[in-house]
Structure formats: C-alpha cells, structure tokens
C-alpha cells in the first residue's frame, strides 16, 4: 500500500514537472526556430538589384532615390552590402559600403563622396541621422540584426492583413540601446508558410505606435531564399511613408572585390 502511494506520488510529481517545463521549452524553441528559419530565408549568399526608394511626405510630395545594391554573405559572421546611388544628381556616384557582423561587433560604414574624391569612415548614426538616405528606414532595418543585445518573446500566432503569422516581441536588452534607437519594443510578424518577416510594428519610448513595416511583395529565389521586393515603412505619428522597391534581382556569385573601398571608388 505504502509502495503504491509512493509510486503514485512520484508519477504525479513527474507529470507536474513535465507540465511545468514543457511550455518553457516550447517557447524558447519557438523563438529560436522562428529566427533560425527566418535567417535561412534572408541569408542569401549573393544578391544584386536595383533599389528605388520613394520618400512620401504627409502632404503627398514624393522624392525618389535610385541605387544599385549588392549584398554578399562574406562569412557566417559577416554580411557586406554596397549601395551605389544613381539618382538624384545630388547623390549620384555616392557609394556606401557596410560590413555588418552577427556576433554583435559594431557595424562599419564607409561612404565615398565623389565631390571631394574621398572614402570616409562614418558611424551609422551619422548618416542621415541614422536613417537610410533620409527615409523612414533606419540602417538597423537594412542590416540583419545580431541576436546579441536583444530580448525576444514569442507571442503566439496571429494574422496580419489576412496572412497567418507567428508573432514575436523584440526589444533592446538594455535601456541605453532602447534609448539610442528610440524604440521601446517591436512586434514582428513572421509568415507561417515560410518564416519571412512580413511585418513589424515599432513602438516609441512612450509605448505609442511609431512606425509600421510591411512587405507587400516578395520573390522566391532558389530555396530556401526569399527576398522582399516591395516594402513600406510608414511613420504613424508624422504621416511620412517610405517605399522600397527592388527590381532586376540577380543571385550570381559576386566577387568580394565588390565590397572593398577600391570598388566603392571606381565602378
């Protein structure tokens, strides 16, 4: 009798233990799974395309910037990007070379200014106040974020514009990082079918909705790669909107020489 009671108690304890740890494992697993699968889709080894950025003011005034963009996965830790601007004339032949790192090391940005014939090292925050060519996209929106320095929580499943998604809350792990970015947290939407991040809502330091990022069109490349080809970023507080369209996409191998200061200066 005593033995049976002991056995029953052990079984109950085991079930309770499994009940407690199971959700924790599932949550941690889901965040990691989502990020792993998302990064699989976007870590395209080589990419070249034509980038058109439309800056739309609240009153509808539109300015357009055109650039040729190159991207290469240099190593497991480094992705490099090169932008050569073609339009408007005020930025034509200006080049930007960005080396970004997955291990949390600071990103490096060089800019080539044709008017002074110089390659300059600048901090990302200094170029356009941290915003890409004056758009609503910050450089961190372009650069695949290192997992270091951010906290993520799985929020479960939901829909975004009729698309089934996994939802994740993401925020800088330190107050300094959140203050530097001006973002208290973000809600990310990953499409269930392929884990592409099709949306992100940004909340400012007061917790108010600041910007919405949406992928309107994407291109399926050689599996598992997917590339967003029409993206909007709308500032819900100012009424500004930026639209990025990527066309003429090529995925042939790019030499590392494209991602050097030599190529930045001479194309």
């Amino acid at each position: 009798m005593k033995q049976n009671r002991r056995l029953t108690l052990s079984l109950i304890m085991a079930v309770l233990f499994l009940f407690l740890i199971a959700p924790l494992s599932a949550e941690e697993m889901t965040v990691k799974t989502i990020l792993d699968r998302f990064e699989e889709t976007i870590r395209i080894p080589n990419l070249k395309g034509v980038l058109t950025v439309k800056l739309i003011a609240a009153n509808g005034d539109t300015r357009e910037i055109e650039a040729t963009a190159f991207q290469k996965q240099i190593s497991a830790n480094q992705i490099s990007r090169l932008f050569i601007f073609d339009y408007p004339p005020s930025v034509r032949d200006t080049g930007m070379l960005i080396h970004s790192f997955m291990n949390g090391d600071d990103n490096v940005l060089w800019i080539y200014l044709p008017a002074v014939k110089r390659v300059k090292r600048i901090a990302l925050a200094q170029s356009g106040g941290g915003y890409f060519m004056g758009s609503d996209f910050s450089y961190s929106d372009f650069i695949a974020k290192s997992r270091v320095g951010y906290t993520r929580e799985y929020l479960g499943e939901g829909t975004l514009d009729g698309v089934s998604c996994f939802m994740m809350k993401e925020y800088g792990a330190t107050e300094e990082l959140r203050r530097l970015q001006g973002i208290s947290y973000m809600i990310n939407y990953y499409r269930k079918s392929d884990f592409l991040m099709v949306g992100r809502d940004y909340y400012d330091l007061a917790g108010e909705l600041l910007k919405e990022y949406r992928v309107l069109e994407d291109l399926a490349l050689q599996a598992p790669y997917i590339y967003p080809t029409l993206i909007t970023m709308e500032n819900k507080q100012t009424g500004h909107k930026s639209v990025i369209q990527v066309t003429d996409i090529e995925t042939e191998d790019l030499s590392e020489r494209y991602f050097t200061t030599r190529y930045l200066r001479n194309r």
């Binding site: 003011a57 339009y87 408007p88 090292r121 106040g129 530097l180």
Partner: protein, 436 residues
C-alpha cells in the same frame, strides 16, 4: 588664329557636341548649371556687388569604344555679369580630363584630375596635392576648391584592404589668383616696393612633384601614410632685389619652392562617434628660418570628432594645432621697422602669423522635410576677437533644381594688409542650381 569670341563660342558648343556624340558610345553626360549672386555684408564699407555669375560644368564619363579604358572629361565655363563682365580664364576651362584603366591589382590614371589625401574634412595637412583658388568668396565653395593636376597616378592594391598610390606631376599648377602686381609699402617702415606675382598656368620652371601614399581600410580602423616632394603651389618671395635704406625700394618677385611633406592619418569608430587624427611635417627650403621670404618648416596636427547630437543633427569638431619652426629667426640688413613689416606681411601670407597656432572649426548640419531642406553652420574660433560664422541653407525645389543661400561672416574687420591671400570680406550669396 581664332578670335576670342569664336573661341568662347567653340568652348560652349563643344560640350554639347560631345554630349550628343556620347550617347552613341554609352558615355554618361552629366552637368551642373547655376546662377549666383554675391553681395558684400561688411558693415564698415558701402554695399558692393561682389559677383553675379552664370556657371556651367558639363561632365562626360564612361568607357571608350567598348574597352576597359574609361574617359572623364569636364570643363568649367562661366561668365560674370557683376561687378564687371568677365569669363573663365583659359587655363581654368579644362577641369578634369583623364583616362582610367583598371589593370588587375592596379588602377592607372593619366591626365588632369583631382586627388584628395587625408582623413580630416577641413584644414587637412595631408591634402597637399594641387593648388587652390585663393580668392573664392565662400571658403567651402565646391566649384573653386583645389585645382586638378595633370599627372600620372598609379594605384596598387596588394590586398582588398591595402592601397599604394604613386603620383607624378610633371608640371604642377600654382594657386590661382588674378593679381599680378601688388604694391607693398608702409611709410613708418620706410618701404616702397612692388610684389610681382608670377602665376603660370603650369609650373614649367619648377617641375616634378611626386607623392607616395599607403592606405589601409579595416573593420577596426583606417590609416594613411604620405610622403610628398613637390613644388609648393603657394609662392614664396625673393627679396634680394630690394635696395636702399630709407626708403627701401625695389621689386619683390614670387618664386615657387620645394617642400617635403611627411605625414599620417588614423580614423576609427568609437561607438556612435568617429575619431580622426591627422598630422604632417612640412620641411621647406628655409631650413633654419633665415630667409624671411620663404615659409618656415611647420608641423600640423588636426584632431576631428564626428557624431550625431539632438534631433539627428550631424556634428563635427576639429581642433587644429600648428607649430612654426624657427619663427622670426635670423636677421636681415633692413632697419627693425622695415624688417618687422616685411616679416608680418610674409608670415600672414604664409598663414604662419605666430609660432604656435591653435584654432577650432565646428560644423553642424541637418535635413528636414524629407531632405528637401538642408541647414548647416560652419564656425571657426581662433582664440582672438575673430570668429568665423558661415550659415548655409539649401531647398530642393525638385530632384534637379535647388535654391541655396549662405553667408561668410568674420567678426573682425578685414585685415589691413597689402599681401592679402584670399578675402576676409563678409558676404552673402544666393544661388539657383540645376543638375542633370
């Protein structure tokens, strides 16, 4: 012999013909056109029209006949309507004209082009290739900056991160300034002389400038080392023809002397900041400071920090220190007052007014309304009553048209010197630009 009017007409037509022909060979045809007006803002003097100019810079660039060889060709064409009619001097019509050939791990350039060394953005001591337009009205005039040089330029890339530059300039170009004869006189100094400036388009009499540079770009830092042995584009003075005692009279002639420049620059990111240090030592022909007509050797250190401050405003601060070796050393045969006057005029012309110079330059800029409005402020502080303030504003009327305005203010009155290099007269400008 082509008359002046026909020559000017050809100079205007040729770019258009080249532009039309370029489409057949895939060459880009770009250009900038502007009209500007400068007025004086000096409270102590009557108002003057300083300049009314129509300017056109066409640029052709692209491959030659489907080869790896690329051509870049640009010209500067302008007419001044105020205060007097004028136009581009013949020696300044050709801006850049060079061929570029990528050859494996090397790049080869041949022709007239601009080269910029150094990593600081203002008063860069390594940026010593090419003369300057010394009488520009805005200190940061983008169309009258350094003068391109006719050169052979080899760049070698031992790796993706390293670059070696070798530049040979057979006939360097001096600073450009229109004055040829300047009286240099002072009754209290018992001096009545004339300074004759020789400003050849290319320095045939003092040829052969050479520059060697090594640059490295890495994820942690960038640096550059430079050596130059070159003809200084800013003239020195030969005072050997001065005679007499009271007064001292005669002709002072300009001459172009040789300089060795050794220097380096370092740039790295410090979080959200970028820090740059740049230094250069200039060894001139006046090795011991005994020749007051020749600039002294000097050492310059420029420290620059850039960052982003409130509201996404780009901020940059430069601290420039310069030490002049053998300042006012040596003696002369002239009376003390005469010698003091000559030294003061020459030292200020050489921008070596005191033995140790320290000053700060600040730059702020920001953009608004989706980058349509650009606002900037340059400021200089010289540890004296003299401050330099230069606000700038630009409004993008469209992607191609822009309206610009600005001013250059010096809080001290213009210096009262005969040998004035450049202008320190307060002024303002307004400009309408079209770029295609």
């Amino acid at each position: 012999m082509i008359s002046g009017n026909r020559r000017r007409t050809l100079l205007l037509i040729i770019p258009f013909l080249l532009g039309a022909g370029s489409f057949a060979y895939g060459i880009d045809f770009q250009g900038t056109v502007f009209g500007d007006y400068y007025g004086s803002a000096e409270l102590s003097t009557p108002y003057q029209n300083l300049r009314g100019r129509l300017f056109y810079r066409p640029v052709l660039s692209g491959p030659l006949l489907d080869t790896d060889l690329e051509l870049t060709l640009s010209t500067d064409l302008y007419i001044d309507l105020l205060p007097d009619f004028g136009y581009t001097a013949a020696e300044n019509v050709l801006h850049e004209a060079y061929l570029f050939l990528p050859a494996g791990p090397s790049d080869i350039y041949a022709g007239q082009k601009l080269v910029s060394f150094g990593k600081t953005d203002v008063f860069s001591p390594l940026n010593c290739v090419g003369g300057n337009h010394i009488y520009k009205l805005s200190l940061d005039d983008p169309y009258q900056g350094r003068r391109p040089e006719a050169m052979l330029h080899l760049k070698f890339y031992p790796s993706y991160s390293d670059e070696l530059d070798l530049i040979y300039i057979p006939f360097p170009r001096p600073d450009y300034g229109t004055t040829t004869e300047t009286p240099l006189s002072d009754s209290s100094a018992d001096l009545s002389a004339t300074v004759h400036f020789s400003r050849p388009p290319y320095n045939i009499d003092s040829p052969h400038s050479i520059f060697l540079a090594y640059s490295r770009f890495s994820d942690s830092f960038d640096f550059q080392l430079l050596y130059g042995f070159y003809t200084n584009p800013t003239p020195d003075f030969d005072i050997s023809a001065l005679t007499g005692t009271a007064p001292v009279t005669g002709l002072i002639t300009s001459r172009y002397t040789r300089v060795h420049t050794f220097g380096g620059a370092f740039s790295t990111s410090l979080g959200e900041l970028v820090w740059v240090e740049e230094a250069a030592f200039n060894l001139t022909e006046d090795l011991d400071g005994s020749d007051m007509g020749v600039r002294n050797p000097d050492f310059t250190l420029n420290s620059q920090i850039t960052g982003t401050i409130f509201g996404g405003t780009f901020a940059q601060l430069n601290m420039i220190y310069q030490h002049i070796f053998y300042f006012n050393a040596g003696s002369s045969v002239y009376a003390p007052d005469t010698e003091a006057f000559l030294r003061s005029e020459f030292n200020n012309y050489f921008t070596q007014p005191v033995q140790n110079i320290l000053f700060f330059i600040a730059h702020l800029h920001n953009s608004f309304f989706r980058e349509k409005l650009y606002v900037a402020l340059n400021a200089g502080f010289f540890f004296s009553t003299e401050l330099y303030l230069a606000p700038r504003v630009s409004w993008a009327l469209s992607d191609l048209w822009s309206l610009e305005a600005g001013a250059d203010f010096w809080t001290a009155p213009p210096p009262n010197r005969d040998l004035l290099r450049g202008t320190k007269e307060d002024n303002f400008y307004i400009r309408v630009s079209f770029a295609y």
